[in-house]
Symmetry: D2
């Protein structure tokens, strides 16, 4: 259960890391949206590890395959099924250690929940690889949002204790063209150094991603329960490794006074704006028209090359585990486009619910 998300732009995820494919079904995409494999492929490619930071040896092409819902270059109103096929899965190593629960991974909880029937190869259903489906659906969502003017950008703001604090403006070009997905190249260089250091120590690093959405119309969000914060947070927590989500001033509100935290309303060029934006573009669970700011904490990659203490679940005894092969030292940069995708999916769902995106695109 729980493999569908959304009310009007509903995505259903399927697939496993070492199974046949990773797939996503989108139900509720309006008819008439021009979409091609290329539109989706750009986003998928963006998610691939850059050579500089990655040590994942798995070589997947990750070419999107549109299985349904698009005809003559336009969406038809029918469900859109998108898949990438798994072609380079090497499952042997997982067989040997399948009883050793990898710390920080979902091996143990999945084993317990599914009675040991879960596909353990490469984390199976819990692999970060499933986010390829999120990115494909996000590409379609962003295409739908284009007509509303909404633009989404995510970027790396912290890795291994190194904060990105040198940038004056955030440029999509800069972000997308450096492997750290960082808005400033000097900060990116420092992060890279931290990653290199961790790699040598056989360790891994966490970080923080910021997502920004601009031109969001006033009125998205369906409180009291389907708040914009709540549904964005839920969407982000479906990305493996995310352990915290905050909006605007976020946890900083704990140390602010109301006189500061209250964003004063002002009229500017005939529109209502706020003088500051500590609310992160959301008031009462509804978008205010100001930019949306969201920050997500990403934990260090659980797969490290150091020897770890764990249990053998079949024998119910303590054991040691040494994870072979090479893994990403830090998945923060690869999670950046996934954060953007989940934001696009959620905002698109609310825009459809609010009637801001029409039932047929013309």
């Amino acid at each position: 259960m729980g493999n569908s998300l959304g009310k009007k732009f509903v995505i259903t995820s399927f697939g496993e890391s070492h199974g046949r494919c990773i797939g996503i079904v989108i139900d509720g995409c309006p008819a008439g949206l021009a979409i091609t494999e290329k539109d989706i492929q750009i986003e998928l490619d963006n998610r691939k590890p850059g050579n500089a930071i990655s040590s994942t040896k798995r070589a997947e092409e990750d070419k999107v395959d549109i299985l349904s819902g698009v005809f003559n270059g336009y969406t038809t109103g029918a469900p859109i099924c998108l898949a990438v096929w798994n072609e380079d899965a090497k499952s042997e190593s997982y067989e040997k250690t399948k009883d050793l629960m990898r710390p920080g991974h979902a091996d143990y909880t999945a084993f317990m929940k599914y009675g040991g029937f879960n596909d353990y190869r490469g984390g199976g259903r819990f692999s970060g690889r499933n986010t390829a489906g999120f990115v494909m659906a996000g590409a379609v969502a962003q295409k739908l949002l284009d007509s509303t003017g909404v633009k989404i950008l995510a970027h790396t703001v912290e890795i291994g204790g190194v904060r990105a604090d040198s940038y004056d403006v955030i440029s999509a070009d800069v972000v997308n063209n450096n492997p750290l997905r960082c808005a400033d190249l000097r900060d990116a260089a420092k992060m890279l150094a931290a990653i290199e250091k961790a790699r040598k120590a056989g360790d891994s690093l966490g970080g923080i991603i910021e997502g920004i959405a601009i031109n969001v119309p006033v009125g998205l969000g369906e409180p009291i329960f389907d708040t914009l914060e709540g549904d964005l947070a839920k969407a982000l927590f479906s990305i493996p490794a995310i352990k915290g989500v905050e909006f605007g001033a976020g946890f900083g509100v704990a140390q602010m006074k109301g006189s500061k935290n209250n964003d004063a309303f002002r009229i500017k060029r005939g529109k209502v704006v706020t003088a500051t934006n500590y609310g992160g573009g959301i008031l009462g669970g509804i978008s205010s028209g100001m930019p949306i700011f969201i920050r997500a904490a990403v934990k260090p990659t659980p797969s490290i090359s150091q020897k770890q203490k764990t249990v053998n679940i079949a024998k119910m005894e303590n054991a040691e585990l040494e994870i072979k092969g090479r893994h990403d030292v830090c998945i923060v940069p690869r999670a950046v486009p996934v954060v953007a995708a989940m934001m696009a999916i959620t905002l698109c769902d609310f825009a459809l619910q609010a009637g801001i995106i029409p039932e047929v695109i013309k």
Copy 2:
């Protein structure tokens, strides 16, 4: 839309701050649960402001009224409707300032979303008063969880920059019997002093609440989208004023290495446990059996007595607003039982989905 939450323990909220009542319908509560008004009233009373910290002049009895679903002291399997009647609403002051959008409140976004038809009196649908419904549903959820052994406790860990750091153990008795809902009385005294200072300045304070759930069985959560983190976060973001949610080490993961953040598995008394609990009791979106730790950031009360800049929405011009009357300087302590309630509701929903709570209680 968006006024229902849950899949198997589904709550539907209705009511406004100055309307007839605040109500909640629970659909999916198993038959055979012994429940009385008293069980629910205890929790409702817990949510009332203590005299020491509150300056809310509204005097509501907030007596629960069970409108359906309970017969001869037991739940029947039919939907349970619970209400508290509004009896002391004073709406006049809101009429005069209804066009002045209160900064930090939902006045503006609600006005825009609902075309000006929203009930603006006391914040209407966006009032913190709606959390009375959450607390009533939470009382029923906690009763259901009792059979599974799950215990939930929330407490104040920070107010206005003052951190609770003196406690060795967290005692429900201490927490529930001081108006700050703090685990240590010395810290509570410091927080109270900070509140008094802010009150004199006509200002308000934010803070952080920690929620803990123990004895949670392994296996709650329905990834890939209905993760335990995601659904807990979504539930918490429906509490007005919450701007950040984190689990376990939370945003601290950004500065941790994998070798530390990975909680080592160990066998202890025949069961699998983790040596540390940076994951906050959740792995892969599923409960691990370790205590669940969640922290929520609460923004300062938007209603302050200082003069504020805002807009007159009818005239579309800049204006100033002075909020009359007295308001809570800090709502953190009052939000503590609401955090516990939303945790109970979410865990109960997942326990029902996982078949851990039966369809009929016997």
Copy 3:
């Protein structure tokens, strides 16, 4: 579970026959709809038994009480809770026979499903009285549909083997102003005679209701699963006693040839129409713009005064039951406005889903 219906116009039902009240919460009603108690009361009164056919001795005022969601005469966009209070419930007689499962009623299945905790008084949750909530929600739905031009009328087409076949036109005035809810007064007289005869025999009668919706825009329905037929049928089967639902030619299609059953398309005054309407206004699960025709079979009232064979569920032995008091010999006429209500609710939900009714009524 299962007490909510709809995707965008979501109704949640609560209450029992002999409990405090019968209630319904509507979530998703657009803001700005002018609505008064009177609008709803007209429909509720329409559901009351006429003196001519009823022998129900329960005397309920059934005055609608708007508990939330309406402010200054307009809907606010917040959930609308509507209730009628139970004031004349006499529960004593039910205590004595509570272990005797009434044939044709839900006593036995409810006892088994809810472990004997179900409220058995007057059928409790399974009483036809719950349809008062449906009718209240239907009144709101019809108000919303008014702007689209959709008009719904239901009428009695068969009772106890007597078919209404004399009418040339179906006039809402004639239907609403005779207690049989029949389109022809001569047919109504024959039905009344059949009812009188059954009453004297201590027996009861079933019948058939036809529901018609005109001016329905093309495009309502969300196949492949949320077809217009499927969701209308599901809504109608929530009315106790309905055992069959058909559209257009319905079961008659079994004896038709395709050359006749296929409704030929024609251009008429610049619009596409069909020359015949065997499809009942629905093709591929989507409204075609032609009038929608639906027929529902209503079983004879299970409460009859003849002695009946049954079981004592506490003693698990065969028993006899004589139901005291007086009951409706035929509930078909009372179910007529309920059929109309469920049609309005379903069409309104689809019209909102399709964006045909806007988010704010202006």
Copy 4:
């Protein structure tokens, strides 16, 4: 929208008649169910037209492809994606006549709803071919139901006015081994003659299918809205061509008296049964433990070889249409396994909701 069905055993359909494939995703299938391609293929093959009655020239292998959710022969608890690939679609003929709306088909309503972007080839999303997905999901559902003892059988009871009335018992062997899916071979022969006659006339025939489920536990169904009748009916109406659904005595109740229609309860071998079963195994929307009887009316195949009146939607003018190629004269026999599949899916969903099928099969 509307391409998912169910609450706990949730199926999501995708694919088009002339697209890449027909697929179905099952979310909520418990882990640990032994399942192979063969289990599913048997049901798919059962859906194929027998040579005797079919004239469909399309030659599809319809081999099931398991894309996810099964590992080492067992379900994993992850979503199961099943597909059959389209390999023999001939789309040319549809291009020429794409502006001519085929009477009785969804061409016109789909064109209007989706702004002309719908895939019109072979009916696209509205093709009966989509029921291949239903049958695949039904095979998994029936496998899950096996442990509860529930057995489902559907059979043809009427075609073109010829009723099956010769059988004494209904044998699955007889039903599955004659191309009419009829319980008596003599009746099947008469139906075949009627079909032959219609074929020669270039016409088509409708009919009625009966679905039976035995050994259904008491307690399935979630009233007040998610009744067993309502959800079964909704599921059946998703099969193209079904225009009526009835349970037990069905529309016959209109002519019955309560004294007959009320099924008397009796104790038999220590269990509660009913002496008759006019209720069709359902009381108050909940299964009673008696066999479930459901009947569905299937309209004549809309594709006939006679010339038909229609419109050219591009030119908005009257036109004539002659459908080339050969089509099934009567799809009733092919719909028989689909009716059984939708019953299995619905009963399985309710059994999971009621906790009768466990979360992990062991």
